[in-house]
């Protein structure tokens, strides 16, 4: 019992639910971000492409108009230098050297005519030719030694040479990198927060289910009159509670009807039995011959047997239908067995039986004392009735695995084949039996109603063994066998 309720948090379904919910949430937000990222990247590229196209046009124009004299390269360089200051998304350059823009003029083949920018103009030109940038549609160019690709636009001027304007993509990439880093920080935070929120909400919701489970198991063990707590809400948990309570109403109603039937049956039979018995007894007080008195006494005996049979039959029937009324208290089975043994021991000794009891001490069970008295009484009575003289009865009582075991072993003839096969059926008895044959059926039915079990078997070394197991109540104090008494 304690191991089941050890750690409700670690076994809760709330983990699974919140894990899946968080996964779905994380995947969804990630998808949204990817779409957004793509949109931003495209927009940045569009802006830089527009700038490139515009500037390369201007530069082409300037190059075409500027006379090709000594000043040509200076004029074009300055124009290019000016242009580089208007680069979109530009960060303040760390170095004074301009490494974000280059300007290149070259023929269809041959070395560069004019190079303005950081790095190696020839290598850049080779890369541009490899990437086949001819028109004014900007393209990506990756210079071999350069870390960052350039976006390059081209224009052809009148003298047949090309003017190339390159814009480093490092600023765009930096913007996108910052965007991603920020997103991941925030994303992790909201995913974690989402997990906590979902877990808390699920845990709270499942608490109602746990309450229902707890109550339902208590109902299963004890009485049918309690009901699971109903939150009054219209959600699934509320409906579950109401459905369970409705079911319990019906079960309780059925059990009540069964009780009414057995009660009225008992009542209707007992009243005439009482009257008959009383009348017979009254007759007995008058002057009678010995023969007459004998037959009346035997009639009274038969009546008592009939009454006992009626009572036990109804008890067995109710117990089999799980409808036996129990008024449970915590009782010490050890004390109860010893008390009953005190009652039976003289009879057993008288018959030449030897009784031994081995018990570990207090064995608490939650049970109906009157019924358990009858169970133990039936078991002992069984031994007295069926064992031949000079047999030994060993009674052992121990607590094992949250259960109390009461074991009766003898070295007698064991169970008859007929009894063995149907020993828990009603009205089966051994050849020597005088009783109504309900003893073991009663024992089993009562023990089962208390949540226990009975095993009856013949021991391989001869004799019978009856093992009654009942749920232990309270902390286990002593385990296994202890001292031997009597």
């Amino acid at each position: 019992m304690s191991s089941r309720s050890l750690d409700p948090v670690s076994r809760s379904a709330a983990w699974r639910i919140s894990l899946w919910a968080t996964l779905a949430f994380a995947a969804g937000t990630l998808f949204v971000f990817l779409v957004l990222h793509r949109f931003v990247a495209n927009d940045i590229r569009r802006r830089s492409d527009a700038w490139l196209s515009g500037e390369v046009e201007v530069l082409g124009d300037v190059a075409a108009r500027t006379p090709k004299d000594r000043l040509y390269s200076r004029v074009v360089s300055e124009v290019a230098e000016l242009a580089s200051r208007e680069v979109p998304d530009r960060q303040v350059p760390k170095k004074s050297e301009n490494d974000s823009v280059f300007f290149l003029q070259a023929d269809a083949d041959g070395p560069p005519k004019l190079w303005v920018g950081a790095g190696d103009g020839a290598a850049t030109l080779a890369a541009i030719r490899a990437a086949k940038v001819f028109k004014d549609v900007p393209r990506d160019v990756k210079v071999e030694d350069g870390r960052v690709p350039f976006r390059v636009a081209a224009v052809r001027i009148e003298d047949g040479s090309y003017i190339y304007l390159g814009l480093s993509e490092q600023d765009q990439l930096r913007v996108l990198r910052t965007l991603r880093a920020r997103f991941i920080e925030i994303w992790l935070m909201i995913v974690l927060l989402g997990f906590v929120v979902v877990f808390y909400a699920t845990w709270k919701m499942l608490r109602h289910v746990r309450e229902i489970t707890g109550t339902a198991s208590r109902i299963g063990q004890t009485d049918l009159s309690s009901r699971v707590p109903d939150s009054g809400r219209m959600d699934e948990v509320g409906q579950l509670a109401r459905t369970l309570n409705h079911m319990l109403d019906r079960i309780q109603n059925t059990v009540r009807q069964l009780h009414t039937i057995t009660d009225s049956l008992a009542h209707d039979l007992r009243s005439p039995l009482t009257a008959i018995r009383g009348k017979l007894e009254t007759v007995l007080t008058t002057d009678l011959s010995v023969d007459q008195a004998e037959s009346i006494v035997s009639a009274i005996d038969e009546l008592d047997r009939l009454t006992e049979f009626l009572n036990t039959s109804l008890d067995v029937a109710e117990a089999k239908a799980d409808a036996l009324r129990l008024s449970r208290t915590s009782i010490d089975l050890d004390e109860l067995v010893r008390d009953m043994l005190d009652l039976y021991e003289p009879s057993m000794n008288e018959k030449g039986l030897i009784v031994q009891i081995h018990s570990a001490g207090v064995c608490r069970i939650s049970a109906d004392p009157a019924l358990i008295h009858r169970v133990v009484g039936n078991l002992l009575e069984n031994e007295v009735k069926h064992l031949p003289a000079s047999c030994t009865v060993r009674i052992r009582l121990c607590v094992l695995d949250e259960s109390v075991h009461l074991i009766l072993e003898d070295d007698g003839p064991g169970f008859d084949d007929v009894v063995k096969r149907d020993r828990f059926q009603q009205r089966i008895r051994g050849r020597e039996s005088r009783g109504h044959g309900l003893g073991l059926a009663f024992v089993q039915a009562v023990v089962r109603v208390h949540g226990g079990s009975v095993v009856a078997e013949n021991r391989p070394e001869g004799g019978a063994r009856l093992c009654v197991t009942l749920p232990h109540d309270g902390p286990s104090t002593l385990v296994a066998e202890g001292l031997s008494l009597t």
Binding site: H267, T274, I276, L303, D315, D339, D342, E350
Partner: protein, 225 residues
Amino acid sequence: MRLLLVEDEREIQSFIQENLIAAGYLVDTAEDAEAASRLSRRYSYQGMIVDLGLPDQDGIDLILQLRRSGIRVPVLILSARRSVDDRVKGLELGGDDYLTKPFAVAELLARMRNLLRRNMSSGEDVTRLRVGDLDLDILARRASRAGEVLNLSPQEFSLLECLCRNAGRTVTRSMLLTEVWGTRFQPDTNVVDVHIYRLRGKIDAPGREPMIKTLRGIGYVLAKP
């Protein structure tokens, strides 16, 4: 002593009444709760026998109602029900007793006498019981006969104590089972007889007058020899 018998079944009522009268009681009868409460207001009874299944009211409710109006007589409850109501168990603790139907008339008479005696001697704390030359020290749990200490087991002492408290009156087997062993279980076998047989062997040693008599089919009585 005047008793009130509340029972709606005529047949049962008549034989209980006959037997109570034969045992020396004055008996009034009532067939329902209303008549019972009317009679109990008019007369003062020493004891009552109440059946639980009355036509107009539950027997328990009748008893509780009488208690509330200040009538504190001991009640012997008769029940044809299968399970003993928890409220009956509560009353039993309060000095009442119950019998399930069918019962032996002797059982009813013995229990009634026991109830009346308990009611009259309530408050009085007996530490010593003496019946003839039999002497019981309740506190020391020691018994002697004619000055000779008897070697009794705790169970045998309780058995003898129960018989001595009811000295001269019938004690049934089921009364002994309840008082000594605390059980209402009815054994098929003669377990109680064996105990009495052993006890008798100890107190009625050869040469002494026997004190414990067996009443066949009813129980035992301990009396001065």
